[in-house]
C-alpha cells in the first residue's frame, strides 16, 4: 500500500478555508430548494438513463452532430486521442494551441504529447494557467489552484512572467489576461472538453467562469483556417437539452454554490458559410469521444454508477481525507472520492489500486453527490477488485485468512484474547500497533472480556 501523506497545517488551513467556503455557499444555495432531494433523484435518473443506453445515445449524438457539420471521432485510448490532435496541429501548421479547462485532456496528458511534437498548449483557465506555470497538475477537479493563497499566486506570476508583485486578485487577473489576449487573437487551434454532449441536438455544452473557454472555441484569429477540437469521455452524453438544463441547475450549485457558472456555451457546429452570416467561429469542429477504460466501468454493475459523474467536485470539497491530504497526494489526475473510484478503472497501476483504500468510508461523498453516486460503496467494490487482482500482498492475505480461522473457532478466539492479556501484554501490543500508537494511545484491553463477565453473571 503506497502512503498518502498529510499536508502541513498551514496548507491544510488555506485549503480548508477555500473548501469550507464552497460548502457553505452550496448549503445556502441548496436550502433555497425544498425539493433538492427530488432534483438529485431526477439528475440521477437522467444520468442512469443515458449510461444504460449509452451506445444508442452516442449514435444519436454522432448523427445529429455530423448533420451540424461537426466531425465526431471515437477514440479508444489516450494515445489515439493525442495523435489525432497533434495531426490537426501539423496540418494547420501551428505551434501553439489555446486550451479551455478540461479534465479529459489532463487524463490523456495531451499537453505533454503535444509538446513532444513541438506544439505548445497554453492553458487559458486562470487556475490552470497558473498551475501550468508552476508545472503542477490541477489540485482539484474544478478549482486547479484551490490550495494556493493570493500571495503565492502573486509570487508565481512575478517569478514566471517578470511582472511586479501584487496580491490583488483583479490585478493578477489583468496580468494573466494581457498574456492570454495576445494568444487568443492569433490562435488557430482551440482545445476544450465538454460538460455535456446533447444527443437530440448534437450540441456540446461547456461551462466556465471566465469566458476564456469561449475564446478557445470561437477563435477570433483573422488569418488562416481555425479548428476547435473538443475531447470528452463517452459518458458525457445526455439525451435532451432539457436533461442538460436540469443537470446544469445542480452542477455549479453543488461545486461552488453558484446558481450557474458565469458562462454556459452551447456549440452547434463550425461557422456557417452559406450566406456569410457568421463572421466568427472555427472552420472545423472535431469532437473526440474517448473510451480509455470507461467501458470497463460500464460493464461492471458496481462501477457503472460512477460514470454518472458530472465533475462538480463537491465530493472532494466535503471529503475529510481530501481536506487533509490535498489533491496532489493522490498522484492521480482524478483525485478525491470519485477520483479514487475512477483511477483504478483507467490505470492499472499500484498507485491507482491504493486509492480506494485511502478512505475512511465515512460516506459524506455519497450524501453530497448531486447525481447520487454511491461513491463509498463503489470504493468498497474497487477494494474487492484490487484484492482479486492480487494487489493485496500475500502476507496480508494469509494474515486475513488466519484471522478468519481464529474468528471461526470460539476456542481459538478465546485463546487469542487470553494470550493477548496474559502472554503478550500491553507493551508488545503497543509495539505491534506502531502505526497507530506513534500518534495515538491504544486503549488498554478490558481486564475481563464481555464473555467472561457474562459467564460469571449471566443474570445481571
Amino acid at each position: 500500500m503506497m502512503p498518502l501523506p498529510a499536508l502541513d497545517s498551514q496548507r491544510r488551513a488555506t485549503l480548508g478555508r477555500a473548501l469550507n467556503l464552497a460548502l457553505d455557499k452550496r448549503r445556502q444555495s441548496v436550502a433555497q430548494f425544498p425539493d433538492w432531494e427530488a432534483m438529485r433523484q431526477r439528475a440521477h435518473d437522467i444520468r442512469a438513463g443515458a449510461v444504460e443506453r449509452l451506445d444508442e445515445y452516442l449514435d444519436q449524438f454522432e448523427r445529429a452532430a455530423t448533420a451540424n457539420g461537426i466531425r465526431v471521432v471515437r477514440v479508444a485510448t489516450a494515445e489515439e486521442a493525442c495523435r489525432y490532435v497533434a495531426a490537426i496541429a501539423k496540418r494547420l501548421g501551428v505551434t501553439t494551441a489555446v486550451k479551455a479547462k478540461s479534465m479529459v485532456t489532463e487524463e490523456i496528458h495531451l499537453n505533454h504529447a503535444l509538446e513532444a511534437e513541438g506544439i505548445r498548449a497554453m492553458e487559458t483557465d486562470l487556475g490552470e494557467y497558473i498551475a501550468q506555470l508552476c508545472g503542477q497538475p490541477p489540485f482539484h477537479l474544478t478549482a486547479p489552484i484551490v490550495h494556493l493563497s493570493r500571495d503565492e499566486v502573486g509570487r508565481i506570476l512575478a517569478d514566471k512572467l517578470g511582472v511586479p508583485f501584487t496580491n490583488d486578485p483583479t490585478r493578477l487577473t489583468l496580468i494573466a489576461r494581457d498574456v492570454m489576449r495576445r494568444e487568443f487573437l492569433t490562435a488557430r487551434l482551440g482545445i476544450s472538453g465538454a460538460n455535456f454532449c446533447v444527443a437530440e441536438s448534437g450540441s456540446l455544452m461547456l461551462v466556465t467562469n471566465e469566458g476564456n473557454g469561449r475564446m478557445c472555441t470561437t477563435l477570433p484569429a483573422k488569418d488562416g483556417p481555425r479548428v476547435h477540437v473538443a475531447i470528452t469521455g463517452i459518458e458525457k452524453v445526455v439525451p435532451t437539452l432539457k436533461d442538460a438544463a436540469h443537470l446544469l441547475r445542480l452542477l455549479a450549485r453543488s461545486g461552488s454554490g453558484m446558481r450557474l457558472t458565469a458562462y454556459t456555451t452551447l456549440i452547434n457546429g463550425p461557422r456557417k458559410r452559406a450566406g456569410g452570416d457568421e463572421s466568427t467561429g472555427p472552420d472545423e469542429v472535431h469532437v473526440l469521444l474517448l473510451d480509455n477504460g470507461r467501458r470497463s466501468m460500464l460493464r461492471d454493475p458496481h462501477l457503472r454508477e460512477a460514470l454518472y459523474c458530472i465533475r462538480c467536485g463537491a465530493c472532494s470539497n466535503v471529503c475529510p481525507v481530501y481536506h487533509r491530504a490535498g489533491g496532489h497526494a493522490y498522484q492521480s489526475v482524478y483525485n478525491g472520492p470519485i477520483g479514487s473510484v475512477w483511477s483504478p478503472a483507467l490505470w492499472n497501476t499500484e498507485r491507482a489500486a491504493t486509492l480506494p483504500f485511502a478512505s475512511s468510508l465515512c460516506g459524506a461523498c455519497a450524501d453530497i453527490c448531486p447525481v447520487k453516486i454511491d461513491i463509498h460503496h463503489a470504493l468498497l467494490w474497487q477494494r474487492k477488485l484490487a484484492a482479486d487482482r492480487g494487489r493485496v500482498p500475500l502476507w496480508q492475505r494469509l494474515a486475513w485468512r488466519a484471522w478468519r480461522i481464529g474468528m471461526s473457532w470460539p476456542a481459538l478466539y478465546r485463546f487469542g484474547s487470553a494470550a493477548a492479556r496474559k502472554l503478550v501484554g500491553p507493551a508488545v501490543l503497543n509495539r505491534l500497533a506502531k502505526p497507530w500508537t506513534a500518534t495515538r494511545d491504544l486503549p488498554p484491553l478490558a481486564a475481563k472480556t464481555f464473555r467472561e463477565l457474562w459467564k460469571e453473571h449471566p443474570a445481571e
Binding site: 475512511s360 468510508l361 460516506g363 484474547s417 500518534t439 464473555r451
Partner: protein, 228 residues
Amino acid sequence: MDQYFPQAGLAVARILKRLGHHVEYPAEQTCCGQPAFNAGLRAEAAALAKRFVRIFDRFDAVVAPSGSCVAMVRNFYPELLGDGRGPARVPLAGRTFEFSEFLVDRLNVTDLGAAFNERVTYHDSCHLLRELRVQEQPRRLLRAVKGLELVELNDGPACCGFGGVFSVKFPEVSTVMAEDKVAAIERTGARYVVAGDGGCLMHIGGMLTRRGSKVRPLHLAELLGGVA
C-alpha cells in the same frame, strides 16, 4: 465490545432486561466479518457472515451497541452473500438493530430514568449517521437523561478518522482527522464524548489520552445503563 468495552455490552443487556425482554448472548459468536470486507477480502468476510447468520437466525431481534457491525449485517450482507447475479435475501438483516434505534424506533422508549450530572457531547459515527441514518435516536435518549447537558459538536459532522484498517494504513491523515475531532470536542467544554460505535471511541479516546485531555470517551449504553 468484547475486548475493549465489555461494560457497554453489559449495559445493553441490563437495559433490555429491565424493559422486560429476554436477552441471550450466544457464546459462539465472534465477528461479523466487516474488517475483511473493508479490506476487499470478501471470501473471508462471507465465511464469517454465514457463521453470523447461522448463530443469530433463531432470534426475534439482534441488538448490537455498534453502528458499523449493524451496517455490515443490514446493508452489506445481502450483497456479500449474493450469488453474483444479485443480492441474497437475508431476513436477519431486517431484524438486526443498533442499540439506540432499537430503543427509540422499535420499543418507543426514550426515557430510561438515567441521571448524569455532566456536560456531554455526542459524536455521530459515520456508519450510524450515513449507513443506518441514526441521528436523532441517541440524542433523544441523551436529552431524557436527568441532569445531562447535551452540547453539539460543530464540525460537520465529521469522521474521526478511524475507518478500521484505514487508521493503520494511512496513519498521517487519520491522525490529523482525530486531532481535529478532539479539538472540536474540547471546544464544546464537555466532560464526556458519547458515541455508539467502539471504533470511534477507541480512536477518539486514544487521541484524548495522548493529548492529556480531561475529556473521557463513553459509550451511549454505558451512560444510559448508569455505570459510568
